[in-house]
C-alpha cells in the first residue's frame, strides 16, 4: 500500500497547479475538493492499521473536504452569481510560475530538514510545504472572496498533510476539533460572502478598500 503514497502525493501536487491556474471558480472548487478527498484517504496508506477511530476520521475528512464544503461553496457561488476570477492581482502565468518556484524551493528546504529515518524517502514534507505555499499564493493574489477561501482550504490541506507524520500524537479530540473549526470557518466565510455580494452586488474584495490609512 505504501508504494502508492508518492503517486498520490504527486497527483495532489498537480492539483495545486490546476487550482493556481484556473480562472473558472467551479473548476478550482473541484480541484480543491478532489485534493481534499485524496489527502483524506492518505492515512490509509501511511499507517497499516489505523483502527475504527482512524476510519471514522478518514470518512469524516473525505466527506467534509470532498463533498460538504465544496457543495457549500458552489452554493455560495451560485447565489453570488459569479463564475470567473477575471483579473487576479498577478496574472495566471506568473502565479503558476511562482507556484512552480515555490514547489521547487519546498523540495530543497524539506531535504535540509532533519527528518526521522522512516520519513525521508517520501514526499510528505515537501508536498506539505508546497501546498501551504500555493495556498498562500492564492490568498494573496486573488480578488474574489471565494477564491481566497479556496486558497485558505489549500493552506489547510498542506497543514493536514504534515499532521499525517504524527498521526499517533494527534488525539482524536484534537483532529475532530480541527475539522470542526475548518468547517465552521468556511461556513462563516460563506455567510460573509453572501453579505458581501448583497452589499456590493459582487464578491470582489476590490470593493473592500474603504478602510485604509
Amino acid at each position: 500500500m505504501i508504494r502508492l503514497l508518492d503517486p498520490l502525493l504527486i497527483v495532489a501536487l498537480a492539483l495545486n497547479f490546476v487550482a493556481l491556474g484556473g480562472s473558472r471558480i467551479r473548476g478550482v472548487i473541484k480541484a480543491v475538493a478532489l485534493q481534499g478527498a485524496l489527502l483524506g484517504i492518505v492515512p490509509l496508506f501511511v499507517h497499516s492499521s489505523i483502527g475504527v477511530r482512524g476510519l471514522i476520521l478518514v470518512a469524516v475528512t473525505v466527506g467534509l473536504k470532498g463533498f460538504v464544503i465544496p457543495a457549500f461553496l458552489v452554493h455560495a457561488m451560485r447565489e453570488a452569481n459569479i463564475q470567473h476570477e477575471i483579473k487576479p492581482v498577478i496574472n495566471f502565468i506568473s502565479s503558476l510560475l511562482l507556484g512552480a518556484i515555490g514547489t521547487g524551493l519546498a523540495m530543497v528546504f524539506a531535504s535540509t530538514l532533519p527528518l526521522a529515518a522512516e520519513h525521508t524517502q517520501f514526499l510528505l514534507v515537501p508536498a506539505s510545504l508546497a501546498t501551504v505555499w500555493t495556498g498562500f499564493l492564492m490568498l494573496m493574489t486573488r480578488r474574489k472572496a471565494i477564491m481566497q477561501v479556496l486558497g485558505y482550504l489549500l493552506l489547510e490541506n498542506g497543514v493536514f498533510l504534515f499532521s499525517l507524520l504524527l498521526l499517533e500524537a494527534m488525539p482524536f479530540l484534537v483532529e475532530a476539533g480541527v475539522l470542526l473549526d475548518l468547517f465552521t470557518c468556511v461556513f462563516v466565510m460563506g455567510i460573509i460572502i453572501h453579505h458581501i455580494s448583497r452589499e456590493f452586488s459582487s464578491i470582489s474584495t476590490e470593493h473592500l478598500t474603504e478602510l485604509k490609512e
Binding site: 530538514l113 532533519p114 527528518l115 526521522a116 501551504v132 498562500f136 490568498l139 472572496a145 481566497q148 485558505y152 493552506l155 489547510e156 498542506g158 497543514v159 504534515f162 499532521s163 507524520l165 504524527l166 499517533e168 500524537a169 494527534m170 488525539p171 479530540l173 484534537v174 476539533g177 480541527v178 470542526l180 473549526d181 465552521t184 470557518c185 462563516v188 466565510m189 460573509i192 453579505h195 458581501i196 452589499e199 456590493f200 474584495t205 470593493h207 473592500l208 478598500t209 474603504e210 478602510l211 490609512e213
Partner: protein, 481 residues
C-alpha cells in the same frame, strides 16, 4: 470544577440564544458574567493549599499563569457585561440574539485557552474565539464593518493555520528526537532539552507568527485597526483585552518550551525585536490619526509589543509584563467604552467632526482623557507601575538599548496619541452635528468608572493576593517551580 468554568458560559450562550425577548436577553450578560467571576475566583483561590485543579489526564490544568489570565478575563467580562444592557437598549433596532450568545461562547473559549495544557486543544480554542468574535464585529451590518470582518477572519484564520503548522512541527521535534510525539505541554517541557533544535527553532517561528497575528503584533497587525475601528466598543474591549491576552498566553506557553529547551536566546531576541517594531509602527500610525477608534487599535498594537518586549527582556520584566497585561486590558476597557459613547453622541469617530466631547458628554469625555493619561503611562495609574517595572528590569540587566528605545517610543506615542485625544475632548462642540440623542447615564457610565477605579487602584496599591499570584506566575514562567 474546571469543566464548569468552560461549560457554564456555553450553557448561558444556549440560554441567550433561546430567550425570545430582544429587550430582556442582554440582562443575561451581567448575570452570567457575575456567576462566572465567582466561579473563577473560587477556582483560583481554592487549590492554593491543595493539589492543582486538573482534568482530562492533564489536558486541562489551572497553573499560576492560567490563574492570572482566567481571573483577569472574568473581571474584564463582568465589567463589559455591565455595559451591555444599556448599550443594546440604545441599539434596540438590531437583533442581539447572536451577539449575546457569541459573547458568552467567546468567554467559554477564552476560559478554555487559559486552562489548556495541550497545544492542540489550545489551538482549537484559539481558533474558535476567532470564529465566534467575527459576527460581533459585523454587528453594525454596513459595508465598512463587512470589510473589517472579512479581513479579520481571513488574516486571523491564516495566522492561526500557521500556528497549527508550528504545533505540528513541535510535535515532530519530539518524534525526531526518538521520543513519543506529543502536544501535551507538561511532557514537552520535560522533554524540551532533548527536542531536535532545528525543528524547535522553526516551530517557534511559525507559532510566534501565528499567535502573534492573533495578538496583533507588527507586521501582522493589519486587521486590527479595521476590526477595532468598526466593532462596537464592547467587542473592542473584549478583543483588545481578552482575545489578545489569550494569544499572548499561547506565545508564553511556546516560549516556556523554548526556554526549557535550547532556543531561549533565539526566542528572546525575536521577542525584543518584534516588541520594539510593534511599538514603532504603532507610534508612526498614531501620529495625526483622525479616527480615534483606529487610534485605540494602534495603541493595542503598541501594548502587545510592550508585552512581548518585556518577556524578551526577562527577569523582573516578566512580572511587569503580567501586571501590564492586566493594566492594559482594564485601561482599554475605559478607552473603548468611552470612545463608543463619544462615537454615539456625535455620530462620527473622526476628529474633524468630534470636538469638545468633555462638554457634550462630560463623563465619557473626562474618562477618555483619563484613560489616555493612564495608557500612556502617567502616574498614578496602573500602567505606569508596570511600565516602570519593565524599564527598571531592562536597565538593571544591562539591556540599555532595549530600555532606551522603549522609553523613547513611549514618549513618541504620548505625543501622537495626545494630539488626537485632546482634539476630541477640547474645544467647543461643532453645531453641525445632529441633535444630541445620547447623554451619559448610569448604564453606560458606571462600567467605565469601575474600569477606571481598578486602573487607579492598581497604580496606588496592588492587593497582596494579586501580588503573590503574579509572582507565582512569573516564577512559573521562568521555570523556577
Amino acid at each position: 470544577m474546571i469543566y464548569l468554568l468552560v461549560v457554564f458560559p456555553l450553557l448561558m450562550a444556549a440560554i441567550a440564544f433561546a430567550v425570545p425577548s430582544n429587550r430582556w436577553r442582554p440582562w443575561l450578560l451581567p448575570v452570567g458574567g457575575l456567576v462566572q467571576l465567582i466561579l473563577a475566583l473560587w477556582a483560583i483561590s481554592e487549590p492554593m493549599k491543595r493539589t492543582p485543579v486538573t482534568a482530562l489526564n492533564n489536558w486541562l490544568l489551572l497553573d499560576p499563569l492560567g490563574k492570572v489570565i482566567l481571573g483577569f478575563l472574568s473581571v474584564l467580562f463582568f465589567l463589559i457585561s455591565l455595559y451591555a444592557p444599556a448599550y443594546l437598549a440604545l441599539r434596540a433596532d438590531r437583533p442581539n440574539r447572536v451577539f449575546c450568545a457569541n459573547l458568552f461562547a467567546a468567554l467559554s473559549m477564552m476560559t478554555l485557552v487559559s486552562v489548556s495544557h495541550h497545544l492542540g486543544l489550545l489551538w482549537v480554542a484559539m481558533e474558535a474565539t476567532t470564529l465566534i468574535s467575527a459576527p460581533s464585529i459585523y454587528f453594525n451590518h454596513n459595508a465598512r464593518s463587512l470589510e473589517a470582518t472579512w479581513k479579520y477572519l481571513l488574516i486571523g484564520s491564516v495566522g492561526i493555520a500557521l500556528a497549527l503548522f508550528g504545533s505540528f512541527f513541535l510535535a515532530y521535534a519530539s518524534l525526531k528526537a526518538g521520543l513519543e510525539s506529543t502536544l501535551l505541554f507538561d511532557q514537552l517541557i520535560r522533554d524540551a532539552p532533548k527536542l531536535s533544535p532545528q525543528w524547535l527553532h522553526t516551530a517557534f517561528v511559525l507559532l510566534f507568527i501565528g499567535y502573534g497575528t492573533k495578538m496583533g503584533l507588527a507586521p501582522m497587525h493589519t486587521w486590527k485597526p479595521d476590526a477595532y475601528g468598526e466593532a462596537p466598543g464592547i467587542v473592542g474591549t473584549l478583543l483588545a483585552g481578552g482575545v489578545t491576552s489569550c494569544a499572548f498566553l499561547a506565545i508564553l506557553r511556546v516560549y516556556q518550551i523554548c526556554r526549557a529547551g535550547t532556543e531561549a536566546e533565539f526566542a528572546r531576541e525575536i521577542m525584543i525585536f518584534t516588541g520594539l517594531l510593534s511599538m514603532a509602527i504603532a507610534a508612526v500610525f498614531m501620529a495625526r490619526q483622525r479616527d480615534f477608534k483606529r487610534m485605540l487599535a494602534y495603541s493595542s498594537v503598541e501594548h502587545m509589543g510592550i508585552l512581548v518586549l518585556a518577556v524578551g527582556i526577562g527577569g523582573l520584566a516578566i512580572y511587569g509584563a503580567l501586571l501590564h497585561l492586566i493594566n492594559n486590558g482594564l485601561t482599554k476597557g475605559v478607552l473603548f467604552l468611552s470612545a463608543g459613547n463619544i462615537h454615539r453622541a456625535y455620530g462620527s469617530k473622526v476628529t474633524d467632526d468630534v470636538r469638545g466631547a468633555i462638554q457634550r458628554v462630560p463623563l465619557s469625555g473626562a474618562m477618555f482623557l483619563a484613560g489616555f493619561l493612564a495608557i500612556t503611562g502617567s502616574p498614578p495609574f496602573g500602567p505606569f507601575i508596570s511600565e516602570f517595572t519593565i524599564v527598571n528590569a531592562a536597565i538593571g540587566s544591562g539591556q540599555f538599548v532595549a530600555g532606551g528605545l522603549f522609553l523613547l517610543l513611549l514618549g513618541v506615542v504620548f505625543v501622537g496619541m495626545g494630539a488626537t485625544v485632546l482634539a476630541v475632548v477640547q474645544g467647543n462642540p461643532p453645531d453641525t452635528t445632529p441633535a444630541n440623542v445620547f447623554h451619559d447615564n448610569v448604564g453606560t457610565g458606571l462600567p467605565i468608572i469601575l474600569f477606571m477605579a481598578l486602573v487607579l487602584l492598581l497604580g496606588l496599591y496592588i492587593p497582596p493576593p494579586l501580588e503573590s499570584l503574579l509572582r507565582e506566575a512569573a516564577a512559573f514562567l521562568e521555570g523556577k517551580q
